[in-house]
Amino acid sequence: MDLGPHAGFILASYGLCLMTALILIAWVRLDKAAQEKALNDLADRGIKRARPEDRSSEAS
């Protein structure tokens, strides 16, 4: 596909947007991993929530 004389600009803007989106996604996933790791570390030391996720839902 020919994008004409300004192909560089077009590709750059799509590329930069893609990069931003990827950074956002990476942030979200790494953050999730970090928080879950922290939760697991705490759970390993016996510090857990009083009413964990998987228990009956109606209680809350």
């Binding site: 020919d2 705490l42 839902s57």
Partner: protein, 254 residues
């Protein structure tokens, strides 16, 4: 807000768990269609040539950066008026996403500006107010970062978000006015091509795709934030928990 009934963070997490895969799939679908259309279906503009293809990401990004601020404004009202436990979680996790969309709008706009106007940046009303919006996003994020206590940070940020919401239109209009006073006529003002259906459709599809992306990311970020607060609460308990020694004596932290 859609998740109004999901007041309880636990129930909210379950809701996210259920909805997220569908939303993600839908989002990818729209992106596939939208990108295909914007590169292969949409015609090139008779005036701008292929550069018009930048529009399919520029305009949705610009729309989304404003919508994101609206979401934050609503959440802030939720924080201040209804003291809803999820409201400041929502506002906090929307800020980086909004900043990212603003960044996209700025970058694509600048890259579009070079071929069209001959310069990456002019101090024109619309561009300037987007830049100010960007600074406001970053300021809010910093405020959240520097305050230790998330509840207090949430309230402070909510006040700032609301004041900023009042300020944005003022900036928009004042910059308009400021600009007409000084702006040399040489800088072209772009008023947008007459929207032709061939162009409109890809644009709308991309806009929906961007919106879906926002919701996916927002839900994921909110989930992280809830987990982070959980970690914080548990850590507090871990610190104050009696030392490994006999735990029987109910003895609070000294």
């Amino acid at each position: 807000m859609a998740f109004w009934d999901y007041a309880n963070p636990t129930r909210f997490l379950r809701f996210v768990q259920a909805v997220l895969p569908w939303l993600t799939g839908l989002c990818l679908l729209f992106f596939a269609v939208g990108l295909y259309m914007s590169f292969f279906v949409a015609p090139e503009d008779y005036q701008q040539g292929d550069t018009v293809r930048i529009m399919y990401i520029h305009v949705p990004a610009a729309w989304l950066c404003m919508m994101c601020y609206s979401v934050m404004t609503l959440s802030s009202i939720g924080t201040l008026v209804w003291k809803h436990p999820l409201a400041d979680v929502s506002a906090k996790s929307a800020a980086p996403i909004g900043a990212a969309f603003t960044f996209m709008a700025l970058v694509t706009g600048a890259l579009w500006g070079k071929p069209m106007w001959g310069t990456y940046w002019v101090w024109d009303a619309r561009l300037t107010s987007v830049l100010v919006l960007f600074i406001m996003y970053l300021g809010l994020m910093t405020l959240w970062r520097t305050m230790e206590d998330p509840i207090k940070a949430g309230k402070a940020a909510a006040v700032l978000t609301l004041v900023g919401a009042l300020n944005l239109p003022i900036i928009k209009f004042s910059v308009d006015w400021w600009n007409t006073l000084h702006q040399p006529a040489s800088v072209m003002r772009f008023d947008g091509p007459t929207i032709h259906p061939d162009i409109l459709w890809p644009l709308l599809v991309m806009a929906v795709a961007f919106t879906l992306m926002f919701f996916v990311l927002h839900l994921m970020a909110m989930r992280n934030e809830i987990l982070r607060r959980r970690v914080r609460a548990l850590r507090m308990r871990a610190a104050s928990a009696a030392q490994p020694a006999p735990a029987g004596a109910a003895q609070p932290a000294e």
